[in-house]
Subunit: 205 residues, 2 copies
């Protein structure tokens, strides 16, 4: 749809605002704006209020750099978790994905990105220096899990961090790679299948 002929400047402004979101085109934005226009006023204000409050009040945890309602996030503040294990992830979504597995009980460190020269992101743009400090303060039985993506940039970042923290003599691990549950051998790429064979595990019933 050409961007023209809006019957109302208010509608046009709202559509432009909504279409500024990533992945939302003019047509979807118009549909969403007309949907919001049909909602009760208090619902719309609850919607915009929640977004304003998120932007104005949410901050980053002073320990792990995760999004938080206060200076320390709920995971870092939870004394029942294992504070000697730090899982290093790229972003908040990764924290939520791991939390949703229910399999991890340590704490996190959110890098806020990944080393990517092509995007102009270097080590100093990430929270690597505070990770080094946290690692230095870990007890001897501590562990750092590098849970970054398996592409070149993720591997580069993992390697960079490993070089910074290996001097502390702490165990450094990375996520297991292999076939996903339910994956077909036929459709797996050679790298994944090769690693799955090399890292094969004892069959347990």
């Amino acid at each position: 749809m050409l961007k023209q002929n809006y019957p109302s400047k208010l509608l046009e402004d709202a559509v432009d605002a909504i279409a500024s979101l990533p992945g939302v085109g003019q047509r979807s934005a118009l549909r969403l704006a007309l949907h919001l226009l049909r909602q009760p006023s208090e619902n719309v204000h609850r919607f915009t209020g929640a977004i304003d409050r998120l932007r104005d009040e949410a901050c980053y945890c002073s320990v792990c750099s995760m999004i938080s309602d206060g200076p320390e996030c709920s995971i870092c503040a939870d004394r029942s978790r294992d504070h000697s294990t730090i899982c290093v992830v790229e972003n908040v979504r990764d924290v939520m994905s791991i939390e949703n597995t229910g399999q991890y009980h340590g704490v996190y460190h959110v890098l806020g990105g990944i080393i990517s020269p092509i995007n102009g992101i270097g080590p100093s743009d990430l929270t690597i220096s505070s990770l080094v400090q946290r690692t230095a303060a870990l007890p001897p039985q501590g562990e750092v899990i590098l849970a970054l993506s398996g592409d070149v940039e993720g591997e580069t970042t993992s390697f960079y961090i490993y070089r910074q923290i290996s001097k502390f003599g702490i165990k450094v691990s990375t996520l297991a790679r292999g076939l996903g549950f339910g994956d077909d051998l036929e459709y797996a790429d050679e790298l994944t299948l090769g690693r799955s064979i090399a890292n094969r595990q004892i069959f347990k019933v």
Copy 2:
């Protein structure tokens, strides 16, 4: 993604708000919320402000029921348009679609929906009575174009309106139906192709 384990109540509220939009799931909502969190504060306030203003200040044109910034919409207020031709459409999006063709210079009447007993929408829920009044006030050379969709509900609504306004002796027309430009005969449904043959037009070069 299961709805759980949000690191921040503020984030959770914003994600819930965004996910309340039609066609937006929890995962997209989280992605959008994190995107908004990364934007400068003033951009986010411009975004929410545009939506608040749309809901609070936009109103409906007292003549044609279109969304408007004031009591009369820009089309109804435009004296250069042909006010003796009224195009009846279901909603605001249809007005914008027709306006974008640049082929129509009359005015509109937005029904605000379509007669649909299955959805509990009857003639009294639509702006049919004001359309009848407008039609009664048309000059003898006036015309009402019923530009409703071609499904059963659209045809029902067109027929209902026709019965209400035919007594005024005004010309009542409907949109031409047929093959779309570039359509393949092979893939056209029988109804459309049949109408295209029945309503064939003189070939002009």
